[in-house]
């Protein structure tokens, strides 16, 4: 069967000693940074991105994927141990996970999270392998108009899933698209918005933007009020869940995996939604709903599985269409472009080893997380005790080295400082940075496809509505936009983000 020979190729690629090592380093580094409180997966990847650039494309993407899972797992660890989710998708885990830790069951909570994630990771890796090829076949039929409409859907969904004001999120998309256009116009070679600085004629550096907006802005926010953190327990003991625990976590894990896999494909950050949806479902279905909020195992197992399954299936739109589903995937696209790979349906056809290698490495990365992190939990707990004022000079130095190592362009470092300021300003003005990053990555692609589509249709804008696939996609975008502006949905949406607390 095709699927198995493809997977065999993937495991052969990902299983080479060098790639295994890079996957391991990625997972370890990701967890290491992800465990640091207040630093989510996006900031972690933005910071570690540059160290992967010296590697082969396959190894570099495998390592990045490893960093992603590691960072997610690290985020869950801080959520459980200090009630401080590094990422919004693990915010749900904090509700019951922290309560379990307070009841002296921190070890069990961490193990449940790890095992649930592993199960979800295994299932959803298969789903990716199963659904990616047929979707790729469809995507190969896409023309410029379809690509344009598809990107509109992605941008609109990122707006729908952002926190806070919809209008602000839309404005962030527009600003991101504009920033993405800085540089040389591909058709005429005219420099645009470079303010006469020649070093920006290749465009603003994507890594500089991501590090500034996600990394530095986060540091500044943490410096606003320096408080001492309290780590709940000195020792984490009794890691293995009991038979009873296993029985109670099994169904939530399966349901969480299904929910997560389905929602993860949605563009715009399905993992957050998946974790929340899973929590709600478990609370409804439980025969002991009163336990939720006081340390229910199902409240950790379900959302953690959903979260991880969503993280995995969000690779589907990236690998098949080249469209990022969330900021992390936007970073992945940036990494692929720097490696000279044009993300999209051609990747599977032209570089099957890369395509299947990444898919196989997802499962290997998840396996490594379970095997390594449970014994290493003591080390992560110690890390939580490092005072913040020692951490951020280290982060700043690594950010600077990392950004400089991408192109050896000192102007990228000035861009980091500038975007750090912008990112902090946006935080203060309550604007979500995720749509901005998505817009920045898609900006040039969106313009290119728009211009190409208009040339093909000889300047007739109805081409977007007369081509059936494009029309359907635009209809979806319109529906999403109308729905988020409906008063009842608006109220519900706000309620969702409040309950996430």
């Amino acid at each position: 069967m095709d699927l198995f020979s493809n997977l065999a190729l993937g495991f052969a690629t990902a299983g080479s000693p060098a790639n295994l090592l890079f996957c391991l380093i990625g997972v370890l580094l990701g967890t290491l940074i992800g465990v640091l409180p207040g630093i989510g997966a996006t900031a972690t990847i933005a910071m570690l991105l540059p160290i992967t650039f010296q590697l082969e494309p396959v190894s570099s993407l495998i390592m990045l994927a490893g960093i992603y899972y590691g960072a997610q797992y690290g985020g869950s660890t801080t959520a459980i141990l200090i009630n401080m989710p590094g990422e919004s998708s693990s915010a749900v885990t904090a509700i019951d996970g922290y309560q379990m830790a307070r009841n002296g069951r921190a070890g069990t909570a961490l193990a449940v999270a790890a095992l649930g994630s592993f199960f979800a990771g295994t299932v959803s890796t298969f789903l990716v392998a199963l659904f990616a090829p047929p979707l790729t076949a469809i995507a190969l039929e896409f023309g410029a108009a379809e690509y344009f409409s598809l990107m509109i859907v992605g941008l609109v969904s990122s707006v729908a899933l952002a926190h806070g004001s919809v209008v602000k999120a839309l404005a962030m998309v527009a600003l991101g698209l504009l920033l993405g256009l800085v540089g040389t116009d591909i058709y005429t070679g005219t420099p645009r918005f470079t303010l006469g600085i020649r070093e920006y004629s290749d465009g603003l550096n994507f890594v500089a933007l991501a590090v500034g907006v996600f990394g530095i802005a986060e540091i500044l926010r943490n410096l606003e009020s320096e408080k001492t953190r309290e780590v709940l327990m000195a020792r984490v003991s009794e890691l293995l869940p009991t038979k009873e625990d296993f029985k109670r976590m099994f169904a939530p894990v399966v349901r969480g995996t299904i929910i997560g896999s389905a929602l993860g494909v949605l563009p715009g950050g399905g993992a957050i939604l998946a974790a929340f949806a899973s929590y709600t479902v478990e609370k409804r279905l439980s025969d002991r709903p009163e336990e939720f909020g006081r340390g229910a195992i199902a409240g950790v197992a379900g959302p953690e599985s959903a979260n991880n399954a969503g993280a995995q299936t969000s690779f589907i739109p990236l690998l098949t269409l080249g469209i990022p589903a969330n900021p992390v995937m936007a970073l992945m696209i940036g990494a692929m472009i720097i490696q000279g790979i044009v993300p999209g349906p051609n990747v599977a056809v032209e570089q099957p080893a890369l395509f299947w290698g990444i898919i196989a490495s997802m499962w290997i990365g998840n396996l490594m997380l379970v095997v390594l992190n449970l014994p290493l939990i003591g080390l992560w707990v110690k890390l939580l005790k490092i005072p913040y004022f020692v951490l951020f000079p280290i982060i700043m130095a690594f950010c600077s080295i990392g950004v400089y190592s991408v192109n050896s362009n000192v102007y990228d470092l000035y861009a980091v400082a500038f975007f750090g300021l912008i990112g902090y300003l946006l935080l203060k003005l309550r604007c979500e940075p995720a749509p901005l990053l998505l817009g920045f990555v898609l900006g040039p692609l969106l313009e290119e496809n728009l211009r190409r589509a208009m040339i093909l249709s000889r300047g007739d804008p109805t081409t977007f509505f007369t081509r059936p696939i494009s029309a359907v996609l635009l209809l979806i975008a319109a529906i999403v936009l109308v729905v988020v502006f409906l008063p009842s949905v608006k109220a519900k949406r706000e309620q969702v983000f409040v309950e996430e607390d």
Binding site: V167, Y187, L220, M396, Y404, G459
Partner: protein, 175 residues
């Protein structure tokens, strides 16, 4: 995350308040007013810049066509936020990390200015040292120790380990 949730909670509270006693006086939400004006200004700036580029037609779009379209959208959204700021009220902006900005933001700029002249090792050391002062908790001796350790670690990992092509000591410190 915390900030957002509080915002939404106060947002809900503000709605209730408003529905209760129908706005007695016109007042502005400072954050949103600022946000709206900044976005409008940025939109206008990009629009002004786009006009300096060739616009072309919808058939053959010039380099300025799509940016102009986006700047108009951004400006309109900025105005909407500005107008809305008169209606919805949030909690104030909260403390601003002035000391943080003063020391964190110059750190990468300093690195950029000196990495070629001073070389990799001193640049890392001073970058970390500058960043250290962003926290009032950091003692000077500690700051030097952390920066020194960091410089040694980085040169071992990035220069010797990963073989990145950095000059360890640049022309400014060579005699």
């Amino acid at each position: 995350m915390r900030g957002h949730r509080q915002d939404i909670r106060t947002l809900a509270a503000a709605f209730e308040r408003q529905n209760g006693d129908k706005m007695k006086a016109i007042s502005f939400d400072a954050t949103n007013a600022l946000c709206g004006s900044i976005l409008t200004a940025v939109g206008l700036f990009f629009a002004w810049q786009s006009f300096g580029l060739e616009l072309g037609t919808a058939f053959r779009m010039g380099p300025g066509y799509f940016p102009l379209l986006l700047s108009v959208v951004l400006t309109v959204l900025g105005v909407i936020i500005l107008v809305q700021s008169a209606r919805v009220h949030h909690e104030p902006m909260g403390p601003i990390a002035i000391r943080g900005m003063l020391f964190i933001l110059p750190a990468p700029i300093f690195f950029g200015l000196t990495v070629r002249g001073l070389g990799f090792v001193p640049a890392v050391f001073f970058t970390a040292l500058i960043a250290c002062f962003a926290s009032h908790r950091m003692k000077p001796l500690w700051a030097v120790a952390v920066s020194l350790g960091l410089a040694i670690f980085s040169v071992a990992v990035f220069s010797y380990g990963l073989n990145l092509p950095f000059e360890r000591f640049g022309p400014w410190v060579r005699f």
